[in-house]
Amino acid sequence: MPRRRGPRRRAGGLRAWAALAAALTLAAPPAAVAGETVLRARLNADIVSTDPGVRRDENTDAVLLHVVEGLVAYREDLSVGPLLAARWDVSRDGRVYSFRLRAGVRFHNGAPLTSAEAVWSLRRYLDPKTHWRCLHEFDGGGYAKILAVAAPDPMTVRITLDKPSPGFLSTLARVDCGETAILHPSSVGPDGTWRAPIGTGPFRLARWTRNQAIELVRFDGYQTLPGPRDGNTGGKRALVDKVRFLVIPDGVAAEAALLRGDLDVLDGVLPIETGELKRHADVRLDVHPSLDIYALLFQTRDPLLRDPRLRQAIALTLDIPGLARAVTQGAAQPNRSVVPVASAFHDAVQARIPAANLVQARRLAAAAGYRGQPIRLIANHRYPAMFDAAVLVQAMARQAGIRIDIDTLDWAAQLARYNAGQYQAMTFGYSARLDPSLSYDALLGDKQADPRKVWDDPVARSLLTASRETGDAAARTAVFDRMHALFLQDVPAVVLFNSARIAAFRANVVGYRGWPAAQQRLWGVGFR
């Protein structure tokens, strides 16, 4: 005779399951030792190395700039300010920079900062064997060549250039250059191989468990600059004992971790995910305009797109504000200029966005001899905004009878096609560049020598050189305005928008704030 499970037995079963669940939950590693504050933030991929500015990507830069610091760094308003240098003097001919180091700064190993470490660090970067990302900027191929690095006294570093260069300091401060961080020589082994960064930042690197987590510990001997948080320069106070970056590739899993309380800060939220997050009372959002650029690139050497009238026609089909709104759920700022909206150089001239004009677009396309030939537009799914923008470009161009077919590639393949210039059109994203000269430099150049360059206009190239040779803001604005006019006329690309950097964090987290450099900063961030 079959036996029925009685209510008592069912209750016993439930209790057993609850006990098992409780045991497993209790067995999970504690978020922190009692009394210790740990801020947990998400990385969408692991860091590449711990060698700043050498083996790097965006995540690597963001993590390591909590650990290391340069002589100068970017402020909140994207101007360059002192960090390890207390001040600097420039010689009359603009070629010699003398940096006076801040007194009292110590490395994570307790050693005091002197000019010896600064000279050692700079010479290491200038050694081609280091493979520093920004070496080409200082070996004669970029702004200016560094001829000598010297230490006239224990607290002064002297850098001699071959020619004056207003962009010198901003290049030193670049995030992708690792801020040209000053490191202690024991960061490398006796044979010069990289060990671990011994820097001067508010946190020191404690542990890197590859593909899982990076743990930073507060450096109690840190000497912050006075004042509030200011870009990567001042107010770098560590408000927590530890920062733990958790590598969580999947966006939904990261969101679940935030909602459950396993994560405190979730940076790089996709616009489409914000709707769900807004519904939770214990989650806050931080939306900040970025300096990156999303654009529709044309290959101006393509037999079909060689005619600027066809490129102008496609540009005229695009409702840029509508496209930006649709792709980013209204988070991004529409922009037709290479100079990002958040830049101080984005003036009224750059802010004007030509309206879509389908009649004029048809007329120009016909004048260019366009007869409905398909134009192949490359996009990818790794960056959803690029794919979504491609779909909208396709739909908008169709209204003027211009046929666009989308080829979806993986990111590495698209990057290879971009670098080789092998495409008709592609939607592409340029990471944040903190100076408009750098933004233009990404697009502008000799296609023969460098096929990835999108715009090969001799007048614009001379203007770019002029923009680098002056430090006067008004003069530079005028140069950028002229370049913008040329860019709109020639249409080698259509800038679509500058995205917004969206971060979500738990309601008990205080002090989190994004900034245009789109780099996660966890100093000055703590718990309520």
């Binding site: 067995a27 990302r133 679940a256």
Partner: protein, 321 residues
């Protein structure tokens, strides 16, 4: 020749025959990964990289040498147990993939074992109650589990047990040898997801085999002798119906041990599958080559192990050395 000697000879012969298979697999992987457009140096240095820096990194990675020379060098090193160094992280490939394999193996072995147990029980029950409500319910459940994508099921379990009920952690991984309790807590959801997804097809296979065996005369004879239904199903039907399910379980095991990339991504587990996917996206040639060669080896070994299990289940099957 004794059975043990025959088995040893058989194993040696199979392992020897697997050498050309592995060599061919190595060649295919080497060629195919290089046919993909994309350059590891470019991916590593990003969109704004200086072409000279890309070329220098190319030289540093040894990618400027002719492809046949790269293959011969790599194969020579591989034969000595050195699978090269990751171009993205600079880590030696062999320790890296062994470390990742431990994670994958802990999930996959548990999941396939649970899925097989579920399938045996479910398949036998369904065959025993053939055409009745229980049979239909089991078939429906198996069909649903086959149809549900693993990423969706994983996310649903994660939201239910992690976010809503807060019983289990949602992201992270703790090795079992470091903390058994915490390690198990992190494995429950991925193992449950994989077990549910994989149990469907195994259950269908077990049910079909059990139905075939039930129709045979010796089963009728056993029933006629008065054996209980439990005894008939367990002693007579199960051993004779299990071989196809075991083969399928072996194939599943081989396939999943090569990496359960989706599950590993959803649950943020540092396993072999995620390593392969990340390496392909980064065009990290040595890691992709190492992982896929390792996967091929796992396939060979799992299949061999399954073949050696058949004589244990069915005395009529013998190993011919």
């Amino acid at each position: 020749m004794s059975p043990a000697a025959r088995t040893a000879r058989y194993v040696a012969k199979r392992l020897l025959l697997s050498v050309p298979t592995l060599l061919l697999a190595a060649l295919f992987v080497f060629v195919l990964i290089r046919l993909l457009p994309g350059d590891p140096a470019q991916v590593m240095l990003g969109e704004g990289a200086d072409p000279d820096a890309v070329a220098a990194l190319h030289r540093q990675m040894g990618l400027d040498r002719p492809a046949p020379m790269q293959f011969v060098t790599w194969l020579g090193s591989a034969l000595h147990g050195d699978l090269g160094t990751s171009v993205a992280t600079g880590q030696p490939v062999l320790p890296l993939l062994l470390q990742r394999f431990q994670v994958t193996a802990s999930i996959v072995l548990s999941a396939v074992a649970i899925a097989t147990l579920l399938a045996v029980a479910g398949g036998l029950l369904a065959a025993w109650r053939h055409g009745r409500v229980l049979d239909r319910a089991i078939v429906a459940a198996a069909t649903i589990s086959m149809a549900v994508p693993s990423f969706w099921l994983g996310l649903m379990l994660l939201l239910a047990f992690g976010v809503k009920l807060r019983w289990l952690p949602v992201v992270g991984y703790v090795p079992l040898h470091e903390n058994l309790g915490a390690g198990l807590a992190y494995l429950v959801l991925p193992v449950a997801t994989l077990a549910i997804v994989e149990s469907g097809v195994l259950t269908r296979m077990m049910r079909a085999s059990a139905l075939d065996v039930q129709r045979l005369e010796f089963v009728t004879h056993a029933r006629a002798k008065g054996a209980s239904e439990l005894a008939v199903m367990v002693r007579h039907v199960l051993p004779n119906a299990f071989a196809p399910t075991l083969t399928l379980a072996g194939l599943t095991l081989g396939h999943l041990l090569g990496g359960a990339a989706v599950i590993e991504t959803v649950f943020t587990l540092p396993g072999l599958g995620r390593l392969v996917v990340e390496s392909i996206l980064a065009r990290d040639y040595p890691v992709v080559q190492g992982c896929l060669l390792f996967t091929a080896l796992i396939y060979v070994l799992v299949n061999l192990a399954i073949d050696l299990c058949y004589p244990l289940l069915d005395p009529r099957v013998t190993v011919v050395g």
